[in-house]
């Protein structure tokens, strides 16, 4: 560890602040939920998660979007799965969301407000959804 300067300390604080802000839920109405069961992680959900975080930062909308992880959504055959909840849009579960689709997800779904047609898997079957 080299000797830190005051400017480096300020920069480090800013980085940590941003990391903490990502976990903050206040004022965020868009949710991205990444399925991170064993099946999801095996299919590359961690890389997808990181790619989505990077993409949100790149487009400067990280303060509007809450990104979180969940367990297996029961769609193991199309992992990694990502659920996107945007107000005034249908809630969608996307499948086969490898890390290279993260940019598409952010640009098309969150910014342009259209759906990624080739990845839609809809909601889980009606009998396991509590109405």
């Amino acid at each position: 560890m080299a000797r830190m300067t005051l400017d480096e300390l300020r920069a480090l604080r800013e980085t940590k602040r941003q990391d903490m802000a990502r976990r903050d839920v206040e004022g965020k109405d868009i949710q991205i939920i990444v399925g991170m069961g064993t099946c999801g992680i095996a299919a590359g959900a961690k890389q997808t998660f990181d790619a989505i975080v990077d993409s949100l930062q790149k487009h400067g909308i990280e303060d509007k979007v809450l990104i979180r992880q969940t367990g297996c959504m029961g769609l193991c055959y199309v992992e990694p799965t990502v659920e996107v909840v945007v107000p005034d849009m249908p809630t969608v579960i996307y499948g086969k969301m490898t890390y290279d689709t993260a940019e598409d997800l952010v640009v098309k779904h969150l910014i342009e407000r259209s759906l990624l047609d080739n990845h839609i898997l809809d909601r889980p079957a009606a009998d396991i959804v509590k109405k």
Binding site: M1, A2, R3, M4, L6, L9, R10, L12, R13, K16
Partner: protein
């Protein structure tokens, strides 16, 4: 009695801050053979009588610890120095401030261990109080060629920590997240 030299430094600095100082300066100069510390404050100070009584272990003003009959901070420091061959001086002027200066002879077998200096500096910076604290720390090589080589191996050092500056850079010195960064910063200063 304190175990290590850093415990004395933290103790004396705390006293300085509690004397209502606006600014406390701590100088720590280490060389191959000696460990010298100077703590200067601009607090309420003491007159001659009070200076003499401050070195009496059985005197306390009773304000800090009501009911306690002893005041052992400075007397123990003086004793530790007398036991291990160093210097100690205490100057104070009523209303102006106090200066405590002491030097431990690191070559003496009875010299207490230095202790964990970065951790002590970190806790000094976290002491409560509005006063600003400046810490100046140097480590120099001197003396015989062998001493020079050893000191260079340990690395010559010189850095300054200013509480107000750090509080400004970190926003506050009270939140846990700031303290974790402060600790990392202070530790990194010792790396040379």
């Amino acid at each position: 009695m304190h175990y290590a030299i850093v415990d004395f430094i933290a103790d004396i600095t705390q006293n300085a801050l509690e004397a209502g100082s606006k600014h406390v300066s701590v100088r720590i100069d280490e060389s191959e053979s000696s460990f010298e510390v100077q703590v200067t404050d601009d607090g309420k100070g003491m007159d001659e009588g009070e200076v003499a009584r401050a070195l009496d272990p059985f005197y306390t003003d009773g304000l800090k610890h009501p009911g306690r009959k002893v005041g052992l901070g400075l007397p123990f420091l003086k004793q530790a120095i007398e036991l291990s061959g160093g210097d100690f001086s205490l100057h104070s002027e009523k209303g102006c401030g106090t200066e405590v200066r002491f030097r431990f002879d690191e070559g003496n077998l009875d010299c207490p261990p230095i202790g964990d200096l970065p951790a002590a500096l970190f806790s000094i910076l976290c002491l409560p109080g509005d006063g600003d604290v400046t810490i100046l720390r140097t480590r120099k090589a001197e003396g015989s060629p062998r001493a020079m080589a050893e000191a260079t191996a340990r690395g010559e050092l010189s850095y300054e920590l200013r509480k107000s500056e750090l509080a400004e850079a970190l926003g506050s010195l009270e939140e846990a997240s700031s303290l974790a960064l402060l600790k990392q910063y202070v530790m990194s200063q010792e790396e040379g």
